[in-house]
């Protein structure tokens, strides 16, 4: 009997294929949106975790300001100095490398090409901390670092944009304010989390950066690599103590800087994507609700339109329960079809989006099943009212209905 009811519901749905499709469009879009968002959100998190684990487990990043907010949150806190970097390197036993890092967006010109990129002022320790090799040319000479010479090491993307396939070493780049000799090219690293191209960068000695670009002596963040085998936690607490002393923070007062290890960086970044995914999924969920109301609306119209049919069914002996079941099953089958199409569409969109954003395609099967069950639930909730109205029709009135 139940299989029969489902078969009849399918017939009724197919008899009005176009309207049925429009009815379930809301559910399709809602389910597809939820699945796409969750798939891409999970892919981003996976990507971030993979990226951060590539940074190495012994990397620490020191930033201004307490906590892990966006960089702007640290603006009010005093910046670091080169002496801080030296102190960390000299006084803390487990430190392998400590590099200052200041960044700025600068337009570089070579010949007819010009390209806007991120210039990082730092030193050779940066390459150690970031585990980044030179592909072509050389790293900075110590004289260049200490003297603040305007020499540049190009990221792979910056090189390609400015030089194409040509050899950039010993060529001279220009900016509005200074010119800069290229001494080397970095290994390609690929896109980072959020699809940012890490190779679109140029390194120069920190002192050159301060003089030519920043115009002050501030160091905004410090990259520290712990020695292999050294305890990251120990290094971290040593740095914390050292910087508190150097920055004259009274006991009991809060830090005005933060030392993050890779695990914290990962959780910070994934929490951001988590919030984004949650928010977008909530919006998608609202569209699912709207889709459900769409189904109710069409089912009500359908009941009115089919009043006569319902009258006929009642007259030839359909019970109230049978009519109720028929319309309820119709609504559920409708929204389940919508749910299935939505899941398929969502997975396809998630796949395409993941490929486009170069993140792993990582569908969440739990959410997929939840979306499917939820679409059935929508059918029950929004189909019940119209179905009950159909079942309670007076057969005489219904038969008279034109």
């Amino acid at each position: 009997m139940f299989a029969e009811t489902v078969r009849q519901a399918l017939q009724a749905i197919l008899r009005n294929a176009m309207r049925s499709f429009l009815t379930i469009l809301g559910v399709i879009i809602g389910v597809a949106a939820v699945i796409t968002m969750v798939t891409i959100g999970r892919g981003s998190s996976d990507k971030i975790e993979a990226d951060v684990s590539k940074l190495g487990t012994n990397l620490l990043i020191i930033r201004r300001g307490a906590g892990m907010g966006p960089p702007s949150a640290g603006r009010s806190a005093p910046s670091f100095t080169l002496k801080d970097v030296e102190a960390i390197k000299a006084q803390i036993p487990g430190v392998l490398a400590a590099a200052p890092s200041n960044t700025s967006s600068v337009t570089l010109i070579y010949g007819n090409e010009n390209h806007q990129t991120t210039v990082t002022g730092t030193d050779n320790d940066f390459l150690i901390a970031r585990d980044w090799d030179i592909a072509l040319g050389r790293e900075f000479f110590s004289s260049e670092v200490s003297g603040g010479k305007t020499v540049c090491i190009l990221g792979a993307t910056a090189r390609r944009k400015l030089f194409g396939g040509g050899d950039p070493v010993d060529q001279t780049l220009r900016t509005e304010k200074f010119s800069c000799k290229v001494i080397g090219v970095l290994e390609a690293k690929g896109a980072s989390s959020f699809g940012q191209d890490q190779d679109d960068t140029v390194l120069m000695p920190i002192k050159a950066f301060m003089r030519r670009i920043a115009g002050d002596q501030d160091v905004s963040s410090i990259y520290v690599a712990a020695r292999p085998g050294a305890s990251t936690d120990k290094v971290k607490s040593d740095i914390d103590a050292l910087l508190r002393e150097r920055r004259r923070i009274e006991p009991g007062e809060e830090d005005n800087f933060s030392v993050m290890d890779t695990k914290e960086i990962a959780s910070m970044l994934t929490s951001v994507t988590g919030v984004m995914t949650g928010l977008l999924s909530a919006v998608a969920g609202v569209s699912l609700l709207v889709g459900g109301i769409g189904i109710m609306n069409i089912m009500l119209v359908s009941v009115t339109e089919r009043t006569r049919e319902i009258g006929i069914r009642l007259a030839i002996g359909a019970t109230e329960r049978q009519v109720l079941t028929q319309f309820l099953v119709e609504a559920i089958v409708l929204s389940l079809i919508g749910g299935l199409i939505g899941i398929g569409l969502g997975l396809v969109l998630g796949y395409v989006g993941s490929n486009y954003m170069r993140i792993p395609f990582s569908p969440d099967w739990t959410i997929t099943i939840i979306a499917f069950v939820f679409s059935a639930f929508i059918g029950i909730v929004f189909g019940f009212f119209p179905a009950r109205r159909a079942a309670r029709l007076d057969p005489i009135e219904a038969l008279r209905h034109e």
Partner: protein, 247 residues
Amino acid sequence: MSEDVQAPVIALRDVSRVYGEGEAAVRALRGVDLTIGRGEFVAIMGPSGSGKSTAMNIIGALDTPTGGSYRFLGADVGGFDRNQRALLRRDYLGFVFQGFNLLARTPAVENVELPLIYKGVGRAERRERAINTLKRVGLGHRLDKEPSQLSGGEQQRVAIARAIASEPEVLLADEPTGNLDTARSVEIMKLISRLNDEEGLTVIMVTHEPDMAEYAKRIVQFKDGLIEADAPNDTIRKPDMEQPDVR
């Protein structure tokens, strides 16, 4: 339903039906007594507003009397709830309407299957019974046609097949020829007469056309909510007789 085979199929006792209340109340039936036995063919006649449609609705368990008693095979239908009335219609009654009332865009055979679906008859048996019933009404060759592809007479035959597919006790026909031309009407009346004669099906038919009432074996006249006359039809016609004189 517990049925009493000795009891008349239909027994209305002092049945009244009042619509509305107080000053505005309309008394559609004002105490009707009517007994119909197995195998009868009764035509219910009367002008509009005479109460014949109300009586038909009550007999068909689509409506309930406000006074008096209605017994179907001895069972008190007045005490039935909505669900029990649905089951009475499903198991004992077959309806034929003036407007055919077939499901649109649904093949004839599936229309005929409908009451069997509600009865829970299995798919294969249902299809077989529907086909056999359509053959009985002479539509064995139009099984897959949808109502829009059938003539009015054919549609009414499908409707009759649907009404008798579940082997009901009583066939209730409400102006079955009202939408048909004379030739088609005669065909339909012959078919109904044959079902009554050959298969012993009890038939109750509402009509305002005396020519059609001629086919019945008993004619009940309604007027102002009461039965005005109830007598055997003197000039009983057989389906195989000549067409009645029609102008």
